[in-house]
Symmetry: C2
Amino acid sequence: MAQKPSIPKGTRDFNASDVAKRTYIMETIKEQFQIYGFQPIETPSFENSDTLMGKYGDEGDRLIFKILNSGDYLDDFINSINSFNINSSLILQEYCKQNSIFPNKEIVESELEKDFIKASSVAQKYLINLGISKEKFISDLLPLILSFYKVIPIDDLIKFSEKELIECSNYIVGSFFNKLKPEYLTKWLSEKALRYDLTVPFARYVVQHQNDIEFPFKRYQIQPVWRADRPQKGRFREFYQCDADVVGSKSLFQEVEFVQLYDAVFSALKLEGVTIKINNRKILSGIAEVIGAQDKLIDFTVALDKLDKIGEDKVKEEMRGKGISEDGITKLQPLFTLKGEFGEQIESLKSILSASEIGLKGIEELEFINTAISNLELKTAILQLDVTLARGLNYYTGAIFEVSAPHGVKMGSIGGGGRYDDLTGIFGLKDMSGVGISFGLDRIYLVLEELNLFPSTITESTKVLFINFGQDEAMFSLNAVTKLRQAQVKAELFPDAAVSGKQRKKQMNYANRRNIPFVVIMGEEELKSEMYTLKNMVSGEQQTVNFDQLLSLLK
Amino acid sequence: MAQKPSIPKGTRDFNASDVAKRTYIMETIKEQFQIYGFQPIETPSFENSDTLMGKYGDEGDRLIFKILNSGDYLDDFINSINSFNINSSLILQEYCKQNSIFPNKEIVESELEKDFIKASSVAQKYLINLGISKEKFISDLLPLILSFYKVIPIDDLIKFSEKELIECSNYIVGSFFNKLKPEYLTKWLSEKALRYDLTVPFARYVVQHQNDIEFPFKRYQIQPVWRADRPQKGRFREFYQCDADVVGSKSLFQEVEFVQLYDAVFSALKLEGVTIKINNRKILSGIAEVIGAQDKLIDFTVALDKLDKIGEDKVKEEMRGKGISEDGITKLQPLFTLKGEFGEQIESLKSILSASEIGLKGIEELEFINTAISNLELKTAILQLDVTLARGLNYYTGAIFEVSAPHGVKMGSIGGGGRYDDLTGIFGLKDMSGVGISFGLDRIYLVLEELNLFPSTITESTKVLFINFGQDEAMFSLNAVTKLRQAQVKAELFPDAAVSGKQRKKQMNYANRRNIPFVVIMGEEELKSEMYTLKNMVSGEQQTVNFDQLLSLLK
């Protein structure tokens, strides 16, 4: 029975034109990465689950694609359950005896659920004898016991013989399995997961290969990542990331270079007038310090970010609602009117943050970058200070970057990045400062498409098609095709012989539909004279030429 | 707690040099693919499971990496089990009543396992009332019932009240779960799987997009595939495939072009003297026909393949052992001494296969290809007939290709392919003949490495490093670096200032270890005079130059 073919939601097939355009963007980015001294690395599509899990928050963990273990992937789980069934029955029996204060099922349930520790403290004596750790008990055994309680009245239970309790083990498993949460089962079923971004695998790579790496290490990486996100317009479950990072240097020259790199890439793509927005985590910390609300940094930034949309009054209202003091808001007044050039904004910030050491440090960093960029001059991009920029607040510690498309193009950010002071700490390599940027391939694609910036040459495929008039003509044609190909001309012979005028027409149409600009008509006459009739499919013009002329016309 | 970082077995990290070499091979292949008129496509890394499962045999199904469903992936499974528990109890009760001939558990079990159909025919009456289809019964319900029988004596069971039977449902689930085979559970837990090769996704692509494709469709695809194979030397769980296929034409010119394409790629890689072995499935069918052993085609080919290693006598012995008749072996005699040029071998085959229409058809096809290739001439490869070549016997229907490395290099095949007459039938598009070839990236890599054929230029990264003497010098240097980069020179500034001679030495060593051929020394004096001291790191030679001279020396 034939299947109706489809692909998973959130994934895409790319045809020749898509591939050519995507390749053009990636190759342009890659070329600039290399000119700037970044070296390529590639990491496996899947990592050990513990490399990825816990690095992106709970939401991230949920969105990571897990790979089912191969082979008899249930064995470990089932064996573990089985070995605990017997133990849990014994513990339960003892627990019930000691806690006759819980005569009925409902109370036992609620007490146990409320007080895992109490339950486990009683059970622990037995656990030691059984060789079970407290962690194992809490993670594996207690859920079983709780499930058990929910289906058998405790009064009946304590009358059970050991044999009967053991016989109940399958019953427990059934009950347990019914209540099993995926979070719990997943670790038994899966120990590998698809890459969620390129930063964590990069950190893992740096730590694993630290002895083979010269620091500062400038690497780039262009590979797909996968996220089990709800698919929507412009958001996919499989997409490429294009990242460049430096690890092992705190020098602000890196930040300067990344601004230049953004400029270089977008200029090379002829996407002129992008805005590179920059901020610094230290400035955000300084502001929070000044208004005495270190814990409200996110609320504050979220509110400030809406200034353009809802206006000063409503932003202040929201800040008050989030518990930011009137005094704090007064101190912030200059922020609401922060305007003008980078330098002017910096001066306003200096007065706001005069009392904050960390804030002033942030200003100093921004000033350094701005001065350097002013001296070096950007080709087509605009560098702009944006104190509301707070992306990745959780892990950035210094500069924060975000790039937006030229004015008039409605599109979210097409790039972003920043500095994180402890990139590799999670894998045991301390004090490695990292800074990096990323390019949003899919969005850049949409912007170039909208502005009609893809060079027309990139989707050009075959240059010439030889119409196939029959065996002898085809053999002669293939000889010419072979020589053209050796001279790097993209040439093809239609594989099947056209024995009628209608079929020849079909082959011409094939060339047309594939946008092949030339066809060679190589019929009986041409074969006799060893000449080639070359037809320009755009102008319709035809000329009959020898091979050398043909080559020079197609080269 | 820091994790010790590692990657899953069978996967690899690639450093800059690895990436450069692999890119070189892939770009070389890609260039020839394009010159030959192939167009790129890309398909998603994961496909719907039913697109892949059942296409590669049982072993293949086992080796496909499955992706765990996201979210509450157990819900469907548990709901299905729960809804069937009650139904299965009722059916069981009735079944037991009607089949009192099975008084004890063991007999019931063995009968049920032997005779699923019989059991289900009794149960079907009830199924109709319950709204359960026969397929559902066999796939979902019967395994539950069987598990049930294995743990409760039937004599007890038929005494159960309906209420008691329902109470047993959790027990059944537990028992069922304990006996659950991964094959059964997997379809509930996973509906996506990682690409196992590029051929099935290509077939899916062609059918899905048939209305947008011009046939014959020549596509290439270079993407990773994943197999849960036992990792071993040279065999990985993630590896790239590089495939070119044509679909929609039966013309033998395609086969001719693929031989040329192999020759073109390996010649471009400077890997001269590879052997392109060719065979034809029709010849193998012809041989089987001649010896009256159509069903022993694989045994026969496996035995014949050992001719070089074990000699004629032992091959014949093995054939006899597999049941091939003495008469058949006598008829095959000329095969054992098949020697000489392609043309001579063809003549011998003609006499062997004179009575087989299909065999003669295969010979005709081989002759056509050989004649064409002789006329067109290969650049560096050798085309060789090999009647023992039988790779992919299950799906190839015409030509079979395999490429081996030049003599003296110990390596399995570095490429292979063939024609399959019904590529897309499984997805509902009939009569689409396909023919294609594949390049083995990892093996080609090893061969090029062994023969030292990688061009030294491909691993060249940064051309010049500016030593960082301090803020002012660095700022001046970055100006020069920026201008060099704009002229496409790969240039870097060491990000951190070297304030001591020791630190400057460290920066020089950094350049050395990274194989950066030039450094620029830009100290206080150079800053004053706006001159650059350029040091050649290989010769040690130094010269002081202005920017224009610097640029022309590095360009």
